[in-house]
Amino acid sequence: MLTSVFIAAVSLALFWMAAFTLWWQMHAWRTPEVLASTRFGRPDGGEHLSFSLLLPARHEQAVLDHTIQRLLESTHTDFEIIVIVGHDDPETTAVAERAAARDQRVRVVVDTHEKKNKPKAMNTALPHCRGDVVGVFDAEDQVHPELLAHVDHAFRTTHADVVQGGVQLINFHSSWYSLRNCLEYFFWFRSRLHLHAQKGFIPLGGNTVFVRTDVLRDADGWDPNCLAEDCDLGVRLSSVGKKVVVAYDSDMVTREETPGSLMSLLKQRTRWNQGFLQVYRKKDWCRLPGFGQRLLARYTLMTPFLQAFSGVIIPLNAAVALFLDVPVGVAFLTFLPLVTAAVTFVFEVVGLYDFGKQYGLKVRMVHYVKLIVGGPFYQVLLAGAAIRAVWREQRGRNDWELTTHVGAHLTAAEPLREDVPA
């Protein structure tokens, strides 16, 4: 009897968790009207804002020049690029200096902090920004030339304080986990983030994010001690009622690549989870006015851990139902979370198809198979990262893992900094 009640309770909790996540994940496709509203409005040709684009780069001499060149191709007429390099990184500095010499729109700011991380670098550059709007990109980003014009238009027409553009991992064919990683980004930026914007609580992404310079300065820039400073900034800004606008257009997204190895994905995810945990503990979200908003904040910041938990417990629960002697009704309940998981899988398959269509990529049968088969393993990865994050946070290890572990020998193929959605 006690077993039955316990199993039923766990099953129902898991079911509601999975159902809510699914509900939110599918936000953009709720109705054709919602889907249409997630896109950028077409620019009217007027350009009234000036941009300061921050480009933190660390040991990224191989890709930096290309990124700067592409940014300079932007159709917008009023912007500057501020490349932030470390004082201990002469190779990258050399690339940046050469670009600055070629084009006066490029400037170089040197970060002299002893222990370096991205928020510190950006805070260093913040006083040097001359534009009305600060934009953030990563050194390996491929930015669409018309993006700034669209963002300019979005700022003016919506009177937003923050505009978050889409970021998309593209190399889904590289490995089984990159496939899932790409799809995570797709659902996050294509769909879920819009729900957060609408509800008034939003963890921002790490790049293609644009903030009015005065708003950013009032907020004292980024939190240098937070491992998910992007998420933190979003939470702080939305908690004080700043208006955030999200827009996603498949041809306007910033394209990125997934981490080069499973281990770096795990580390990246660990850092991100730990960052979410830090944001949760900072309690800025408690200032959100609505109860529902606070609940959404609590749930969203806890998501990595709930995800880890459910990934482990769903199969266990189903096994219990099949092999232990429980009443048929209770056994039925244990299948409920599995049902939502199945629905999620199906929507992911359709999402992969849609992703391929929107980006003109050829998705083959084997990719769908990988998507399904890789699902449980990806869950294990997520669970591992979540457990690792809790452990590290418990031990007070909140340094930037990549910089300390990989250090100066970081290869260009392994980007310094990736931003990961849920």
Partner: protein, 549 residues
């Protein structure tokens, strides 16, 4: 494109409303988004609902004749309520159990208040609820499929007031409940907001319909067509796969249930889903429906006896709409219902299939809708077709006169027939013999607890309430020959029985049931109620011919 990006972070933001790019496939004017707030719709629908509930509800317990099937479903619902399992005898996967689980839920409160009310006549009242909801859904569906208000009302009236529909929807049949789910699925599929989760819900409702009565499976393609037509190009792939997934997942719960009980595949000593399906698929056919000598022909005529307008007119309208869908907006809008009618008609025309009397229930609302749609199409053709701005007044007048004449002619044909049929339904008492038999068995038998009676299910619950032992005291007559758990308790065959309640059903089927047949042969009537072929005889087994008790 609008110039705003409405997904914004402010304290609370209303859901974004940006016009979606319209699909070219969608045509015709959309009905108001919210029927709930449309006063004329509410008034019309409410008035029709009142009329339908009165006509269907008045005299519901006494007409039509109680049937064995009704009794079976209600007895199974009773078993569910009592926690005795899924049926009053061993559940053998004859139908998915969801249908009578719903009957059990619907009758839960009345039967808890007064256990004796759990009899077929009384509990027909639950079907009134089902019928009322279905009628409203027909109206909603009509409006969502772009029918004008009057035509949606006509559809609702046809569905709710046709004597055939009145008779069938009063009976406790699984089909009535399944139809409600299917209508709900169609309404959700045609949701004007084209919401992803509405389509998902349509899939769930369709699965519930199929699990209520498995024959609804054949209607699913028509539902898919409706969903396709009413979804938007940009969101269709998610909406449709979502709906199909929802339907399939819920549908799989039935085999899963069998699996969990270890009854998916046949084995010794237990029933199985496999055997149940095999039985249903191999039921002896009732012949070709148009062959006058066949059972199916008889069933068809039993329907046409009550009403010809709805079945024949609806079928004709469905075929007409399917043929004219290239030219007619209404025909395209009603593609789902007309396809449903066509599929159901095609299935009924199988030469070797089994055609149960309640088969047409699944088609009734769709017949009503296509008939109303056909009328709307005809009205449109008469009043608006080739009409120009500067048409002469007398021509316009002539159009309206013609429309009026047609409407009057149709009314003159239909109303008298329906008036007669419905008057019978609200006045006739077809169940007096059953009530008398029930009363006799409850009062004249001295020791019900130790008396064994073979009875059909229409009276089974009456006997249980009168104190007979459920299952082995009050014995559903088929089980005396077909259920090993019952025959085991009758080692001496008919000699172990005290009474046989020979109702028309028992007399009809006794020829294939040796124990029942013998019991009838070795018994004599002690009370007879009614006369002719519909009479009910209570026959006592004659100990003189060798009774063991």
């Amino acid at each position: 494109m609008t110039s705003t990006l409405p997904a914004v972070t402010a304290a609370k933001v209303p859901a974004p409303h940006r016009a979606a790019p319209e699909t070219p496939a969608t045509d015709g004017a959309r009905p108001p988004l919210r029927l709930r707030s449309s006063r004329p719709d509410l008034l019309l629908c409410g008035a029709l609902l009142t009329a339908i509930v009165v006509v269907q509800g008045w005299n519901i317990a006494d007409y039509p004749t109680l049937s064995d099937d009704e009794g079976t479903y209600l007895a199974q619902a009773w078993a569910v309520q009592q926690g005795r399992g899924l049926a009053h005898y061993t559940y053998w996967y004859d139908h998915p159990p969801l249908g009578w689980i719903q009957i059990a839920l619907l009758s839960w409160i009345p039967s808890a208040v007064s256990p004796g009310s759990m009899t077929v006549g009384t509990m027909r009242i639950t079907m009134l609820l089902v019928g009322g909801v279905s009628a409203v859904l027909v109206y909603v569906l009509g409006r969502r499929l772009s029918l004008p208000r009057w035509a949606a009302g006509l559809g609702m009236a046809l569905f709710g007031l046709s004597p055939l529909a009145v008779v069938l929807s009063r009976e406790i049949f699984l089909d009535n409940i399944a139809v409600l789910w299917l209508l709900l699925a169609f309404c959700l599929a045609a949701s004007p907001s084209r919401h992803l989760w509405h389509h998902f819900g349509a899939g769930l409702a369709a699965a519930a319909g199929v699990l209520t009565k498995e024959t609804m499976l054949v209607v699913l393609p028509a539902l898919l067509v409706t969903m396709w037509r009413h979804s938007h190009r940009d969101t269709r792939k998610f909406a449709l796969t979502g709906a199909v997934t929802a339907c399939a997942l819920i549908g799989f719960s039935y085999p899963l249930f069998a699996l969990l009980k270890g009854e998916l595949f046949p084995g010794t000593g237990h029933v199985s889903l496999w055997d149940g399906i095999k039985y249903q698929m191999s039921r002896p056919g009732s012949g070709f429906i148009l062959d006058p000598g066949s059972g199916s022909y008889g069933v068809l005529h039993s329907w046409l006896y009550y009403d010809r307008v709805l079945p024949l007119g609806g079928l004709a309208a469905a075929l007409l709409l399917l043929l004219t869908r290239r030219w007619s907006v209404t025909a395209r809008a009603l593609a789902g219902p007309s396809l449903t009618v066509a599929i159901l008609a095609a299935v009924a025309l199988r030469p070797s299939g089994y055609l149960p009397a309640m088969y047409i229930i699944g088609a009734l609302p769709f017949l009503a809708l296509v008939l109303a749609g056909g009328a709307a199409s005809a009205a449109h053709a008469v009043i608006r077709r080739r009409r120009t701005e500067n048409e002469k007044r007398y021509v316009t007048g002539g159009r309206y006169v013609l429309a009026g004449v047609l409407a009057l002619a149709a009314g003159a044909y239909v109303v008298p027939h329906w008036y007669d049929g419905d008057r019978t339904a609200v006045t006739a008492d077809a169940n007096k013999p059953y009530r008398q038999a029930s009363h006799w068995l409850g009062t004249e038998v001295t020791d019900p607890k130790d008396t064994r009676v073979l009875v059909d299910d229409a009276l089974w619950l009456d006997l249980v309430h009168a104190g007979y032992r459920p299952g082995l005291g009050a014995i559903w007559f088929y089980k005396a020959d077909l259920d090993p758990a019952v025959t085991r308790t009758m080692p001496h065959g008919w000699r172990d029985i005290d009474y046989v309640v020979a109702s028309p059903t028992v007399r009809r089927d006794a020829k294939d049931l040796p124990n029942v047949k013998a019991a009838i042969q070795h018994s004599a009537p002690v009370a007879t109620f009614g006369s002719g072929p519909d009479r009910i005889e209570i026959r006592r087994i004659q100990p003189a011919t060798g009774g063991a008790r």
